[in-house]
Amino acid sequence: MHIFEGFLPSPWWQLWFVFSIPIIFFGIYRLNKLVSEKRELLPLLAVAGAFIFVLSSLKMPSVTGSSSHPTGTGMAAILFGPAIAAVLSTIVLLYQAIFLAHGGLTTLGANVASMGIIGPVAAYIIYKVGMKANINFYVVVFLAATFADWITYVVTSLELALAFPAEVGGVAASLKAFMLVFATTQVPLAIMEGALTALIFKYVIQVKSDALLQLNVISESVLDKIKGASQ
């Protein structure tokens, strides 16, 4: 999902910055509030950030004969909300842009928009709707993280298609071409990421379930049900 340096022409790279920057600042505000009010949750925040760090460094081979990487943003989005997930993603994307020549500074706005904002927002919505519908917690986590990953790549395709409409067929034809590269490759990886995120939530519930209550991620009755089922 990294759009390389210079590969978004004006006005697109500026527009994505305009979209992303306010949300990053809102995320920083949320982050400050969280850190000052619930200091004991700092380790969990570090864990969510580290999860993004690890997953986004793994370039995995996929069925299409190309490699791509998961995003790891589903966990942060579910635990802390999309705005904080955006801040954590920005840190990772900055690291990759500055030290790895991966992604870029001019395309940072677009990359944050896809990986840090729209993907996590999708995860957050799926999680909230799924929990309201009383679906099994782990299934909901799986779905939320899977779609956070996949939608990130769909958005990347869209960002590129908008900037590079095909001469014949316009944006729609370009979108199809970029989707073929990104969205297809990503399907198995997204499913793996969903399963891995469900697994990590299992451990969070085992060792630190009170944090989930504190963050209003889960209600007490649901938690009791999960714990009862695993014993």
Partner: protein, 100 residues
């Protein structure tokens, strides 16, 4: 579901998609999808598009890995830092929980 079962599913899925990918694309080197997007851009624009940042100052604030080896070192470092943090805090929480 047991954690081990979930882990097994992930491992099987990984191996299956990798081997299918290798069988379906025997000549592929499994290059990054990010790079392939560049080819699509070249195709759409008839090779006319060139990154406009080639001479830009933004390149001077970045560290360009001299080659694939250094790049994979930095990627490994990224994964290692993340894994240390994950392991440290899960261990911390688990130890704390057991001592209670």
């Amino acid at each position: 579901m047991k954690g081990e079962a979930i882990f097994a599913v992930i491992a099987i899925l990984f191996v299956a998609s990798f081997f299918y990918g290798m069988a379906a694309n025997p000549d592929s080197e499994f290059g990054g999808a990010d790079g392939q997007a560049e080819d699509v851009i070249a195709e759409i624009t008839d090779g006319q598009y060139e990154e406009w940042t080639a001479d830009s100052w933004v390149n001077s604030v970045k560290f360009e890995p001299p080659g694939g080896e250094t790049e994979s070192l930095l990627f490994a470092l990224q994964a290692a830092i993340g894994a240390i943090v994950l392991g440290y805090f899960f261990g911390y929480y688990k130890g704390k929980q057991q001592s209670e």
